[in-house]
């Protein structure tokens, strides 16, 4: 898909996410908006997937390790055709399938249940090792949050993937510089984040996490020629796409009002 089309798709996803956050009354809007360009690049240009055959064994795998951005993933999957958009209207309703964090197999296209941070990369390593044992072309993409990189299990896994030469595994860190209650670099000593992944043995790139063309170009390098797993440090803006949400961490928990939804929709149509 061309870059312009991906940009329009990302805007549509953003609008869907904001509307659902409002109607369902659920938080984590800032965290969802910051990773939508990455999801768009993966689902429309990078990954080998078929929504009509969601369990095809040799498909590429995506794990949303920062599971609190579930809303972004649900809307992306519906937009990509994994399930009907009507299912989105059941989000966070009593008896529904779509909880605030994705459950195992809750809808077609969900590869792993996440929500507790620091789980996605170990699972991804297991999936990548399974693919290698089966001699399958499957590649595995794991999206981490920068706050999530506080978790020790992330770094256990970060040491293992290069030791196993998992060149068909990639992580993308949605580096929006915020975690739930504070700047991520003032909470724990995260920086220099790219240098850390590089030092751990990963082929590392830094990228504008809202430049779908650039994200796509880099992620298409998986499997890497270097034989190392790929780490993409995606510099992003929390709340990206809506002027009054951008880089304002109140939107980690705030729910948009009907007026704010209308205002956001206006801005997204211009973008």
């Amino acid at each position: 898909m061309d870059v312009e089309h991906m940009r329009r798709t990302a805007s549509a996803i953003r609008q869907g996410v904001i509307e659902l956050s409002h109607s369902a009354g659920t938080p984590h809007l800032g965290s969802s908006l910051s990773c939508i360009d990455i999801l768009t690049s993966l689902y429309w240009s990078v990954m080998s997937i078929d929504p009509q055959q969601p369990n095809q064994p040799e498909r590429d795998r995506f794990i949303l390790s920062k599971g609190h951005a579930a809303l972004a993933l649900y809307v992306t999957l519906a937009e990509r055709g994994f399930f009907s958009k009507e299912v989105l209207q059941t989000y966070n309703t009593d008896g529904g399938r779509l909880a605030e964090h994705p459950g195992p197999g809750c809808v077609s296209g969900i590869e792993a249940a996440t929500g507790s941070l620091g789980h996605g990369l170990p699972l991804g390593i297991g999936m990548a090792m399974a693919a290698r044992l089966k001699k399958s072309p499957t590649r595995v993409f794991v999206l981490l949050g920068d706050g999530e990189c506080n978790e020790g299990s992330v770094w256990e896994a970060a040491m293992m993937a290069p030791a196993q030469n998992l060149s068909h595994l990639a992580i993308i860190v949605d580096y929006n510089k915020w975690q739930a209650t504070a700047r991520s670099n003032e909470t724990l000593s995260l920086a220099p984040l790219a240098a850390k992944w590089q030092a751990f043995g990963w082929e590392t790139h830094e990228v504008d996490g809202h430049d779908v063309g650039e994200i796509t170009r880099i992620l298409k390098q998986v499997p890497t020629n270097s034989g190392k797993p790929l780490a993409v440090i995606a510099h992003t803006i929390k709340g990206r796409g809506v002027s009054f949400m951008e880089d304002d961490n109140n939107w980690h928990y705030r729910i948009p009002s009907a007026d704010e939804v209308r205002q956001a929709a206006k801005e997204l149509q211009i973008a």
Partner: protein
Amino acid sequence: MRNAFAAEITELALADDRIVLLSGDIGNRLFDTFRERFPERFINCGIAEANMIGVAAGLAMNGFRPIAYTITPFITTRCLEQIRVDVCYHDVPVMIVAVGAGLSYASLGPTHHSCEDIAFLRALPNMAVVCPGDAVEVRLALREGAKRTSGTYIRLGKKGEAVIHKTPPAFTIGKAITLRSGREICLLSTGNMLPVAVETADLLTKSGLSPQLVSFHTVKPLDVDYLADVFKKFSTIVTIEEHSRLGGFGAAVAEWLSDQPPQRASLMRFGTSDEFLHESGEQEHARHHFGLTAPQMAEAIERRVFGPIRLSA
């Protein structure tokens, strides 16, 4: 038990190419044969247990049957969150095999003791908790565990324990094994206490009693049919485990009992008490501290059965 584990998984891996062994950097020479035969299916995950469980779950989600192995506290309480979410919530067939259950590594101190693991693991949905009583049961438990489609926790002692079963018994996860039939007293032993339970039964027999002896190798799913039967037929039911009386096998039986109408039998539970052991010593010493040697248990059972009159007479 440890050597039986290594031998059995090598055979399982030969028959089933979905078996993958993950080790938390232990078992120095233990897996030489496995590694030689199946180099691609042996993964030393390093001293990083949380990651190891996640990797195992990722393999299981994609058709493999991983067995994750290290020392009991490190593969249970240390990575409980990963077992809960990655293995149990996803409901995938990972076998978690722990070595050094209870006080097996008494001399290494409480960091290496494990008297809480059954309590934690049995509280997790989809998880089976199996505590084999000897090396024969270890092999059978692994064989049966490999057939399950959910998580299975297998709790091993160390090496060199007495072998109780002269021939392999019929073994089903969730079905207790009667080793000796008796009357009035029924000893239910789980895990590596089985040889001590045998000794206890011998002492009781010398005292003129006729205890029934049972290897209750599965704590979850609990063999409630067996319990319903023995609580009707016997007067004293005794649970024996190298684990805390809080939350362990005896506690599981007590929970079941509390949901039943009044039973003929009363329950007596042996296990470790609610404390860390702040002194050095071997397993036998530690068992003595907690009243878990055969003479201590036999005496306590006799006191319960005969009452204080006979003892003072």
